[in-house]
């Protein structure tokens, strides 16, 4: 195994190092990589969009399936361009209103399902110390999110317990995630040492 002779591997390796140089400080290499990534990813995004949306979701249904329903989003999409003209700019509110309405409408039932699932999962089907702690934890955390009561007296004390639970949870989640994040770096190191430099195999 030796240094890679593949032109593309070299590009990937140099770009990788350019991003890491940001850890030292902002510098021309990082800037180059950053602007390149933003530029290429938009170019890529537009191409994917052209392929997945314009062709598959608008052109094909319109031309082959004679599905004229897609004219509605097409029109709504065109209304977004009213932003370019000051006197009709307000028209762009219509597609936004549509999109937000659909989004909130969809989120209501899914919030419900989530609510039910969480309560269902918390139900004490068997009695042990863990279940008792979970019930106490859920209730005290919920009390912490009480907004219409001042957190004083009993409510205050329970919400303190809630904060304690939240802090333990954050500490645990933080510690638990480190392994996954270190793995990401290991992945890049393997690429650099093995695919590019060929030091390890």
């Amino acid at each position: 195994m030796a240094l890679s002779s593949n032109f593309w591997i070299w590009i990937a390796a140099i770009l990788t190092l350019a991003i890491y140089s940001f850890l030292y400080k902002d510098n021309p290499f990082y800037k180059f990589a950053e602007y390149l990534l933003v530029g290429i990813s938009i170019g890529y995004g537009i191409s994917v969009y052209w392929h997945n949306t314009i062709i598959t979701k608008v052109f094909n249904p319109l031309v082959y399936d004679k599905n004229f329903l897609v004219l509605i989003p097409l029109l709504l999409g065109l209304l977004m361009f009213s932003r370019f003209f000051k006197n009709v700019a307000y028209l762009s509110r219509i597609p936004i209103a549509f999109v937000v309405g659909a989004g909130t409408g969809l989120s209501v039932p899914s919030s419900f399902e989530f609510l039910f699932k969480q309560v269902y999962a918390t139900m004490p089907t068997k009695l042990d110390i863990g279940i008792i702690i979970i019930v106490i934890g859920v209730i005290s955390t919920l009390i912490y999110f009480f907004f219409s009561l001042e957190h004083k007296g009993f409510v205050g004390r329970v919400s303190r317990v809630g904060i304690t639970f939240i802090m333990v949870a954050f500490g645990a989640a933080f510690g638990y995630t480190i392994m996954a994040r270190v793995s990401l770096f290991i992945g890049r190191i393997q690429f650099l040492l093995s695919d590019w430099l060929g030091i390890i195999k």
Binding site: D26, L37, V38, S41, V99, M123, P124, K126, F145
Partner: protein
């Protein structure tokens, strides 16, 4: 007619036998060695609570058939044959005939279908499958093909699929939706009538003024990051609402606000939000559309772009409000390294620990959604917060009730409470 067809088929098979050594399909008789096989039936029925286009097939799995496979062929009113499945273990007990809209052979509502089951101990070969789909005259009984025997089973009754007008599985959700809507309406009404409603202190939000003020003193801009959500995401909308309040403060302090965006719809909306806030503050002249710019719709491309912008513009205060995923800490750590005051908030629980670690103030989950209410303190908005709290009381009551019932039922072994608990438990399942 069918008999003639079968006759011709038999003759042609006969010819085939003698003309060449091709695989042969022979009918061995209606009698089957295992009476159980005879009694094996498939039930076909419309799938309830769906939008139509689906039929469910079920069968028992007797012990004697545990090593067998079943293949199913669907024949519609017009005689068109479609292969539903081949060689699935009898043990699986059911299969659903559901296809996507694009599939030309999908089940169509109010068209009649029969299903034939083919039981075999070995896999059905491609050749046999072709015969079954093309020329085979379906008749119950035992057959042999290439030395392997298999059974053809009685067809199911004619089934029709139909779409339902109400999904009964979601009844519990509908009932609670009605209850919750009524709760909201009650509290909104209460607020309308002028009842004083209270909202507790939210630390991070009191710091908005301080953050904007200090940043202005240092002559640095403010940066507002809405994360990588779309306008359809509730946290993003909450973030946009907070943006309106922050932008107003920014206009009052006559400083600059930068909003790098991930989604173009969010960008255009943010532009309008900031513009209106500046107008409200009486400084429409300070509004610059180009300060609210699009970066890219690529998670880490966005993170790279915003990081670079932070390093070069050196904002004095950074707001991270919206939907954040893995990029949360990349942004928050870079923001910290340039010494900005950071106020963050998100509903992504997985990212909250990182915001808490890296930012000065963090709005945790619901606090962020309540922020717009806190910042505006309009009676109607406060009413909705009070309704949310009332619902929390209901949830807590259910949990406490569940706990008590479980204690009495499972702990003290009182049957009555155990049954009550089971009822409650079932009701919560959606």
């Amino acid at each position: 007619m069918k008999k003639i067809f079968f006759f011709i088929l038999s003759i042609s098979l006969f010819i085939l036998i003698f003309s060449q050594e091709k695989p042969i399909l022979t009918f061995l008789g209606e009698d089957t060695p295992d009476s159980i096989v005879k009694n094996f039936t498939i039930d076909a029925s419309d799938i309830p609570n769906d939008g139509g286009g689906g039929i469910e097939l079920k069968w028992d799995s007797p012990e004697i058939l545990k090593d067998w496979f079943i293949s199913i062929i669907r024949i519609d009113e017009d005689g068109k044959r479609v292969l539903l499945t081949t060689d699935i273990p009898i043990l699986s007990k059911q299969v659903r005939d559901v296809n996507s809209e694009e599939e030309p052979d999908r089940v169509i509502d109010s068209k009649g279908y029969n299903y034939w089951g083919i039981l075999s101990k070995k896999f059905i070969t491609e050749e046999l499958l072709q015969i079954l789909l093309d020329t085979f005259d379906f008749k119950e009984g035992l057959y042999s093909f290439n030395d392997d025997t298999f059974f053809v089973l009685s067809k199911t009754q004619m089934v029709y699929s139909k779409a339902s007008w109400f999904n009964f599985l979601r009844l519990a959700v509908l009932i609670s939706l009605i209850i919750i809507s009524l709760t909201f309406l009650y509290y909104l009404n209460l607020a309308k009538k002028g009842k004083d409603l209270y909202i507790r202190k939210i630390n991070g939000l009191d710091a908005v003024e301080e953050a904007v003020g200090r940043s202005t003193e240092m002559g640095k801009p403010i940066m507002y990051i809405l994360g990588i959500g779309y306008v359809t995401d509730i946290p993003t909308i909450a973030g946009l609402t907070i943006l309106g309040r922050v932008a107003k403060k920014v206009a009052e302090y006559e400083t600059k606000i930068l909003v790098p965006s991930y989604d173009p719809v969010v960008m255009t909306t943010a532009q309008e939000v900031v513009k209106e806030a500046f107008t409200e503050a009486g400084r429409p002249d300070l509004y610059n559309k180009n300060d609210i710019m699009y970066i890219t719709q690529d998670q880490f491309g966005y993170a790279a772009g915003v990081d670079g912008m932070m390093m070069r513009e050196k904002p004095g205060a950074i707001f991270l409000q919206g939907l954040f995923f893995a990029e949360s800490l990349i942004l928050a750590e870079t923001g910290h390294s340039i010494g900005a005051i950071q106020i963050s908030g998100t509903t992504e629980t997985a990212q909250l620990p990182f915001f808490v670690a890296a930012c000065d103030y963090t709005l945790i989950g619901e606090e962020m959604m309540a922020a717009s209410v806190y910042l505006q303190k309009e009676p109607m908005m406060l009413g909705s917060i009070a309704a949310e709290d009332f619902l929390k009381v209901i949830i807590m009551s259910i949990l406490v009730l569940g706990f008590l019932l479980s204690f009495l039922g499972s702990g003290l072994k009182i049957e009555f409470f155990k049954n009550l608990f089971d009822i409650l438990y079932q009701a919560l399942q959606v």
